[in-house]
């Protein structure tokens, strides 16, 4: 059965970018990977297009993370300069707070197991329990338990970071 990828694109693009951003932590790269995911989807006829997109996007982000690890030092230098210019135009205090929160969430997410993190991000991106079960290998009945644990650990990790930061 042919897939109306244009319709899927309109419904899913922003969720996919948000999901990818929490994997690669770079807005431009997240959009680039999302577009690449849709470009690869054209011509494919998966049974569940939305779940297929997130699976491909996860693999692309994983590959990107491997390459990113090889060129990390170079990217840090360039992005640091770019971020300084961008933030210079906005409210510096607000930008600093946003950046700090994002870094804390990133750290908190990194403290989760990969399965818990994936399930949480997929849920937040809009996938239902059955789709999450398919992508993570969990049983549908275990998805709720997994999400409960992931949410708890995320909140606890974040609040622990806030507490340590306030103590300093």
């Amino acid at each position: 059965m042919a897939v109306d990828w244009a319709a899927v694109y309109r419904q899913t693009y922003q969720d996919l970018v948000r999901f990818l951003h929490r994997l690669v932590w770079d807005a431009d790269q997240a959009q680039d990977l999302a577009q690449e995911t849709f470009a690869r989807a054209l011509g494919e006829t998966p049974d569940n297009p939305r779940a297929w997109l997130f699976r491909v996007a996860t693999n692309l982000a994983r590959d990107e993370a491997r390459m990113h690890a090889r060129r990390k030092r170079h990217l840090v230098l360039i992005k640091g300069e770019a971020k300084a210019r961008q933030e210079g135009a906005a409210d510096p205090l607000e930008a600093a707070v946003r950046h700090e929160r994002q870094a804390a969430v990133r750290t908190a997410l990194a403290s989760l197991s990969e399965r818990d993190r994936t399930a949480l991000l997929l849920w937040d991106a809009g996938l239902d329990y059955h789709e999450i079960a398919t992508e993570t290998g969990l049983s549908p009945g275990a998805v709720g338990t997994t999400l409960a644990r992931a949410r708890r650990r995320l909140v606890d990790a974040y609040e622990g970071l806030e507490t340590r930061h306030a103590a300093h």
Binding site: Y9, H21, Q31, Q35, Y129, T146
Partner: protein, 369 residues
């Protein structure tokens, strides 16, 4: 109803299908309404879910404006870049190319730089015949060319040079693959000789006769020092060569091999014979008849060095001493010229200028074909 689990609570909060409008949902809501503990846990889970969701909003990329879908289609239409090999693989590819080239060169070297086969006794080994054949054939072509160049017009009663036995021809050609062409060479030479006694005679008889002839020639040379004894087909050198072949000695070098006959164009040829010269080299003696009926004798031998003077007639008393012929009547004139890599000494009872003119009409004797 037992207390509900965290997973059921979160599934309820997340409004999954099985809890949306089902009996399970109604049962859970009824339990929470009666169970303060589960009601408290439900509120705690709701708060947790909202808190987690709000934290994840901090990780949003900001405003995302999707590009037109056509841009995605165009991106799909762009040709995928050719994947490049990693740096290590590229280095390995270079190394593999170099190793392959060296290996091919090493294995091809024996075939490219193979020298000509030496000696008549060499026979190709198994599996070697095919690769050796081009070289052998090339050598045979060289060998087959010389006797054709050397061959004078065959005729009855005419003596041909090169009483070459079969073993010598086989030694020049080398290898079993050239047997057919060797036979052709021998046939040519046999026709030129007009008689095939040497080929037909047993090897031991040839050896005995050759040794006897060589001994006789040496005795004559000792009796008349400074003179070269001209022999006909049974000349001492040829006989000695034949004898050496028969007893398995090494063949004589190319320098001492009999040269092809050279004649003066337009004069009838009386005889062509192989002779051994004073320096030990083998030559060819050609006797032609002048218009006056007087004989013209030519001694033809290979030039010693390639860088000989340009062809020019030279009075050669020195040469005469080297190639003094024992023939009826001493020649009045002797002259020598270089021709086609051969040293040709002519002698006749005519003025030297006339002799030089005659030597200017030298040509290679036509072959039988």
């Amino acid at each position: 109803m037992p207390h509900i689990s965290d997973g059921q609570i979160h599934a309820y909060l997340d409004r999954q299908v099985e809890y949306a409008e089902s009996a399970a949902r109604r049962a859970l809501e009824a339990h929470v309404a009666e169970c303060d503990e589960c009601a408290s846990r439900l509120e705690g889970a709701r708060s947790l879910r909202d808190r987690a969701g709000s934290l994840l909003r901090h990780a949003d990329p900001g405003t995302v404006t999707p590009p037109p879908f056509d841009a995605i289609v165009d991106r799909r239409g762009r040709a995928a870049p050719v994947p490049k090999l990693p740096r290590g693989f590229r280095s390995l590819a270079w190394a593999a190319s170099v190793v392959l080239a060296l290996a091919v060169g090493m294995y091809a070297r024996p075939y490219v730089f193979r020298s000509a086969p030496q000696g008549a006794s060499r026979t190709p080994r198994d599996g070697e015949a095919a690769s050796d054949r081009p070289t052998q054939l090339a050598q045979q072509r060289v060998d087959a060319t010389e006797p054709r160049r050397a061959a004078p017009s065959p005729g009855p009663g005419r003596t041909a040079p090169g009483a070459v036995p079969a073993e010598e021809a086989a030694g020049e050609a080398g290898g079993a693959a050239g047997a057919v062409e060797q036979d052709e060479v021998l046939e040519d030479r046999g026709r030129l000789e007009g008689e095939a006694t040497l080929r037909e005679a047993p090897a031991n008889r040839q050896a005995d006769a050759g040794l006897r002839d060589a001994t006789r020639a040496r005795e004559r040379a000792a009796a008349a020092p400074g003179e070269v004894h001209v022999e006909t087909r049974n000349a001492a050198g040829a006989a000695e060569t034949q004898a050496r072949r028969a007893v398995g000695a090494q063949p004589e070098s190319e320098e001492t091999a009999p040269p092809v006959p050279v004649i003066v164009d337009g004069l009838p040829v009386d005889s062509v014979t192989q002779v051994v010269l004073e320096d030990g080299r083998t030559g060819v003696r050609v006797v032609q008849r002048l218009e006056s009926g007087a004989p013209l004798e030519l001694i033809v031998r290979l030039a010693l060095a390639a860088a000989q003077p340009a062809p020019a007639a030279v009075d050669a008393p020195g040469l005469r001493s080297q190639a003094k012929l024992r023939m009826a009547g001493e020649p009045a004139s002797v002259a020598a010229v270089m021709f086609e890599g051969y040293e040709v000494t002519g002698s006749a009872e005519i003025p030297v200028d006339s002799l030089r003119m005659l030597l200017g009409r030298l040509r290679l004797a036509p072959g039988p074909n």
